[in-house]
């Protein structure tokens, strides 16, 4: 009886139709751009049916590691690779910016629908030095709001992520105390707060715990209708995150040759301060025809792909950056 079951199973799987061998590229990395990347790869498959690009979001660090191990053809990361990591990967990895994203401080305080925050207060909240909603610093920024005399429940990410990297990068820039006590990274030693797994986890905790605040990617806040705070940028304007604000942040930054740049706390009146690039990681030299395939996709991405981004909540690259990236793409072999 057991043998029959096994025999049937074996037959069924071996008899599975053998599909015509299409060319495949595999990529792995950041979860943040997964929706837009999957849209791009699906659309590109329609343009080029004989190529399948399979991208899985296993995390930026995972993407970097798999690229180094050469188990995937390209990687994707929200945080640039460190020099050490590039060395391990053979000394040369191209960072190609694709889209932009933003972190927003989502909150849940009864009776409060709009909130203004600036860098130092945000850092204070996440450090635990600002512990109550009616702390003088918060009241000063929000004179009209009815802030309760209640403890702030801080929510952060428990899993390592580019979202955390972007947020802590910003906090490190605006608060010396944060930079020395905690620092920036995909995982950090949070002084206070509950840890939620993934953007979903943080959203869930913020929604369910009264008087809480957490940081999530813009798309999650937009899609879930959770109120999020306006943050004061370097130019002194309070801005709520938006696609335009993020693109403005990228435009205002001097782009280095290897594109590894942080755009948090960017200058410019319209720039949203907690923004980040996300990159595709590609080797300059690739085996077989993979280089050509990747190049062809990237050219398509810079033209048609970019147009699809805003509808999904991602900011496209500013024109100045696009032109530079196009040149770099041509150097891929």
């Amino acid at each position: 009886m057991k043998r029959n079951l096994l025999a049937v199973l074996a037959a069924a799987t071996l008899a599975a139709p053998a599909f015509a061998q299409v060319a495949t590229l595999t990529g792995a990395g950041a979860t943040f751009p997964f929706p837009v990347y999957s849209k791009w790869f699906d659309e590109y498959h329609k343009v080029k049916p004989d190529l399948q690009i399979n991208y899985q979001s296993i995390g930026s660090g995972g993407g970097i590691r798999q690229l180094t191990e050469k188990t995937v053809d390209f990687g994707a990361s929200d945080g640039p690779m460190t020099d050490e990591q590039i060395q391990k990967a053979g000394g040369a990895v191209l960072h190609l910016p694709t889209v932009l994203g933003a972190d927003v401080p989502a909150f849940n305080v009864e009776g409060v629908s709009e909130l203004k925050l600036d860098g130092p207060t945000l850092a204070g909240i996440f450090l635990g030095t600002i512990a109550k909603w009616n702390d003088p610093a918060l009241v000063k920024l929000n004179p009209g709001a009815k802030l309760p005399d209640a403890a702030i429940t801080v929510v952060h990410r428990s899993d390592g992520s580019g979202t955390t990297y972007c947020f802590t990068d910003y906090l490190s820039k605006v608060s010396k105390e944060w930079a020395t006590k905690v620092g920036k990274g995909t995982s950090v030693n949070w002084p206070v707060g509950l840890g939620g797994k993934g953007n979903e986890g943080v959203m869930g905790l913020v929604k369910q715990n009264p008087n809480s605040i957490g940081y999530v990617e813009l798309i999650y806040a937009m899609q879930n209708g959770v109120p999020y705070a306006a943050v004061k940028n370097k130019a002194g304007k309070f801005l709520k995150a938006s696609v335009e604000g993020v693109t403005a942040a990228a435009a205002g930054v001097k782009m280095p040759k290897d594109y590894r740049v942080s755009i948090t706390d960017a200058s410019g009146p319209k720039a949203y301060p907690i923004s980040t690039f996300t990159w595709l990681l590609v080797y300059p030299k690739n085996p077989d025809a993979k280089g050509e395939q990747i190049k062809a996709f990237l050219r398509w991405m810079l033209k048609d792909g970019q147009r699809m981004a805003p509808a999904l909540g991602y900011a496209p690259l500013p024109a100045v950056v696009k032109a530079k990236v196009a040149k770099t793409v041509e150097t891929i072999q």
Partner: protein, 283 residues
């Protein structure tokens, strides 16, 4: 006989047995609550096209999980083919040949320890074993990871039930002059068969829902799966990715996938029950 004492004993009896009924009702009740919740959340997104389509990009409706369903069946099936024989035969070793030997003690111990290893660590192990040498993610590596998870469960279970086979049966068969290996395969195993199969199926059902070990092995695939040495889509992975995405549409798909997964698992369990019933020894 003291009437009062007897009455007390009867009361204690009723109370304790009543409590056990409550326990059973609670346990079964929880399951129905869970199934009901999944059905409630997932049923609205179920449709034939959902089952036969490939995933669609964001913003387009009509995406499906066809590749995940086939992928799960493949990976779990292969894992069972690898894991069940190893578990059962090792269990045979432990009960028939290994009594008291130090090697058997170590094997049993090793199996128990493997059982406690988080599935993600087993996934990493399979990554080092299969993915790195082959330099690619594959269905094969996913199956290896799942088989490694299954083996201790099947082993423990097989051992437990082989041990319950009365020694008299074994001795009677041997006394008839039947070779040892035939005694084991055709007399002892069938007698314990029901318990062993239940355990094997619990193990299969369990690994069918595993996500963590498949992240670094089977990897996932948005297109049709090709063969055994390529990345492959599986239900739990697709489910998880959809559930943690920002889109309401994908959330609904996640719950529908969860419903499909539960039905998949229900099917395995039901089949086992129906098939094994005729051969069940009378209690």
């Amino acid at each position: 006989m003291n009437d009062a004492a007897y009455a007390r004993r009867k009361r204690v009896n009723a109370l304790m047995l009543g409590l056990t009924a409550v326990c059973a009702a609670l346990s079964a009740g929880v399951l129905f609550a869970i199934l009901g919740y999944i059905a409630w959340k997932g049923a609205s997104s179920l449709s034939l096209s959902f089952l036969t389509n490939l995933p669609k990009p964001v913003g387009e409706s009509g995406g499906g999980i066809a590749n995940s369903i086939v992928g799960s069946a493949k990976v779990v099936g292969l894992a069972g083919l690898m894991g069940i024989p190893v578990g059962v035969l090792a269990g045979v070793y432990l009960t028939e040949y290994g009594k008291g030997s130090r090697f058997a003690f170590l094997v049993r111990y090793a199996a128990d320890v493997m059982n406690g290893v988080p599935s993600i660590v087993i996934g990493l192990f399979a990554y080092a074993l299969v993915v790195m040498p082959l330099k690619r993610f594959s269905a094969l590596s996913g199956s290896v990871a799942l088989a490694l998870i299954m083996i201790p469960i099947v082993l423990r279970n097989t051992e437990e039930f082989l041990r319950l086979v009365p020694g008299t049966i074994r001795e009677a068969a041997l006394a008839l002059g039947i070779p040892r290996w035939k005694v084991v395969l055709f007399v002892i195993l069938p007698t314990a068969g029901r318990g062993i199969m239940t355990g094997a199926l619990l193990a299969l059902s369990r690994v069918a829902g595993e996500t963590a070990p498949l992240v670094f092995t089977a990897f996932g695939n948005r297109f049709w799966n090709q063969g055994w040495l390529n990345p492959i889509a599986t239900l739990p992975l697709t489910l998880y990715n959809d559930a943690i995405s920002p889109y309401e549409d994908w959330h609904r798909q996640a719950w529908a996938a969860a419903l499909i997964l539960m039905m998949f698992v229900l099917a395995i369990n039901l089949t086992a029950r129906l098939w094994l019933r005729p051969s069940a020894p009378a209690h």
